[in-house]
Amino acid sequence: MAAGGSIDALGQFKLEPALGHIGASVNFTQANLMMVVAGVLTFGLLWLGMRPRAMVPGRLQSAAEMAYETIYGMCTEMIGPEGRQFFPFVFTLFFFILFGNLLGVFPLFFTFTSHIAVTLALTAFVVGLVTVVAIRIHGWHFLSYFVPEGVPALLLPLLVPIEILSYVSRLISLSVRLFANMMAGHVMLEVFGAFVVMLGGAGIIFLLPAAFSLAVNVALIGFELLVATLQAYVFAVLTCIYLHDAVHLH
């Protein structure tokens, strides 16, 4: 944690091979392991939750139903009636990110969404899907998305590149938002955790600041839970908004 008196805040994001020799031989890291765990947990929530098929749902069934209805409502509300066909995609995306974020709050677990490679891959998939959907529905008319309405033709050579840049910048803004939020939270946790150890070991007069750091860390864990859920939600909402734009153009 605090190697040689300095705080190694970024060491926690290092990828290590998981599952012993088998994992090492195929580069199966702890991030991949956590992705599998997130997938299994999502599947388990729905499968175990819906198994009783009770008229009055129990706790787990309530959770599963609420999850389904929340995302379903989000899809149909934001995309329109066409949103139903994108529901499985948005649902999978939301729960993959949500469980990825939440797993990272537990000690000894790894947050795979704190790697920009992961979030950028997810975002590239979203933007690619949005573009493919738009082209399939609208064909060449899709290009009119980059032409703002009611603008004199003289300005179009200037405005069309700006619109295209704005479209492409979704790739970065969506991925960096998730990645930065998760990484910043875990760096803060690490820094204050290191404070506790360093101050606690420094002597009796530093016990009070050490306790304060511990209190901050407790508050940060709660804040992390909020950020984890909120960022997964924001990612899903923005995916829905982009899909709406793709389906309806503007």
């Binding site: 934001m78 704005s166 910048s169 803004s173 309806h248």
Partner: protein
Amino acid sequence: MSEESGEDGPSSPSFEERLKAARGRQGLDAPPPLSARDTGDMGGMSPWGIGLRVGVELVSALVVAVAIGYGLDRLFGTKPILIAVFVLLGGAAGVLNVWRLFAPRPTRGPKVQDGGR
């Protein structure tokens, strides 16, 4: 209240409208203008969240523009020109992103409703 009762008076022709208003008063219908789409999903966001979001939008457009400008410069061998042009375009695109974030969306409401019917 007085405004609403005026609408609900016997002069109001449409039963649908009165039903909708009544349902809205009772909170039975989720009010459409409050959906995250129209508020630019800023509803539950803290000032920190908004600030971070604006920063990310501004910078991301610039990053993409610089990357494209640099790549095109390497491609055509016009070293400083295109990157300079794209920095300006990227800044403009960033401002456009932020504008989209905060702008009221007057054309959106009816369009969404049309799609819903």
